[in-house]
Point group: C2
Chain length 228, copies 2
């Protein structure tokens, strides 16, 4: 169905085409994997640290047995999501004393069933790039981006926005190598997450349903700085 | 470019439209996360166990600092991939004494750049369902499927094959719940992996480029059998 434009909107959402974060289904799932015997304490502690730092504001957070869902309810949606995630990952690194932790992240926007409107009927907003304070934790990630288009799109082939995103990550200095099915990103956790978030949000201005997956690793004993 | 149909082909590949596993870019990446201090020993041991069981035949396997790439070189490609992965995951469970292990899996087929042909120019093969011996390890997984289509496709909207895959998983008895951005699968590790593999391969008969992601968890202290 169409978005009810009579609903209350934040100024940011209104200026961005009429659809707020919830109407666009902007959110993520992530799982956190501390490679240590005390993994339960690290996971629960890192989630608590981010909450106590106030990073959960404007977000709905639900953990289940496999992962944690984070839905954005207020603008700036992408900024809130990535700041929360960087907070959790930084806390997990501190709580393991720089030990090996991996996070798997799924960023989603415009998933049918998730959203209650026909997104193709609205102007899709293009958010500003996110700004995330450095965590001091160096990460290596493997990153994939999936524009889920049907029929004609102003983005052209689904590979066009993917190649543009990789090019932007190379200019940013985070894309360090390409592998089968994924691009390797290296840098501070905050910069790695910001690269993927900005790319995903940019595709969302052209393609209603877009998903990105990231496997973020830090503290690995087999560090090679992402080189092959 | 077009596939060179004069090249040597296996009988299975020839009967399936002319393109073998390597021409179709059939493969996966996976990362293994034992939640214990001895994670290095468990990961290396599980990979060695699968190799010693001969499950790596017909596959190219390359581990890097974040994950392991597995490319299929001989038919039956999907069968080889899933049997290898089930072997690694079963071994990881045994090596941790039933401890908490998570695997993240990316199944990919038809990725441009990965394959050297224009897949839209060929008849895409529909492989037989895979058969994987039970591991005895009960898993809960969150599963997503991404048909990456451009323009018109015989599959219709990208949500049509996704909904068909979820329906098939429900009939099979593995789909136990739907969450934001993912479907929860429960059952023996082998059956969970087979559900996702068959769905991904079936979409590949209609859509050249199709990717699936799975976060597979077992031995979790917070087991709820996938219910919400």
């Amino acid at each position: 169905m169409m978005i009810d434009t009579s609903a209350t909107r934040t100024p940011a959402a209104a200026s961005a085409g009429g659809a707020g974060p919830q109407q666009l289904g902007i959110g993520m799932r992530f799982s956190l994997h501390p490679h240590c015997d005390d993994f339960v304490g690290v996971i629960l502690g890192a989630l608590a640290d981010a909450r106590e730092a106030g990073l959960d504001q404007g977000l709905v957070i639900e953990s289940d047995e496999v992962s944690t869902y984070v839905g954005a309810r207020n603008a700036p949606a992408e900024q809130r999501l990535v700041a929360y995630l960087a907070g959790v990952l930084g806390a997990a690194s501190r709580r393991t004393g720089g030990g090996h932790v991996v996070a798997h992240v799924l960023l989603s926007r415009g998933c049918p069933g998730e959203v209650s409107c026909d997104l193709r009927a609205v102007g899709l907003p293009a958010p500003a790039p996110v700004e995330v304070a450095p965590t001091g934790v160096r990460a290596v990630a493997q990153w994939s981006l999936y524009p889920l288009m049907d029929g004609w799109s102003s983005a052209g082939s689904h590979m066009v926005p993917i190649e543009a995103a990789i090019s932007a990550a190379q200019q940013r200095g985070t894309a360090s190598a390409s592998s089968h099915y994924a691009t390797t990103l290296t840098g501070d956790v905050a910069e790695v997450l910001a690269t993927a978030t900005d790319a995903w949000a940019a595709v969302g201005a052209q393609v209603a349903h877009v998903v990105s997956h990231l496997t973020v690793s830090f503290g690995s004993p087999s560090v090679t700085d992402g080189g092959r």
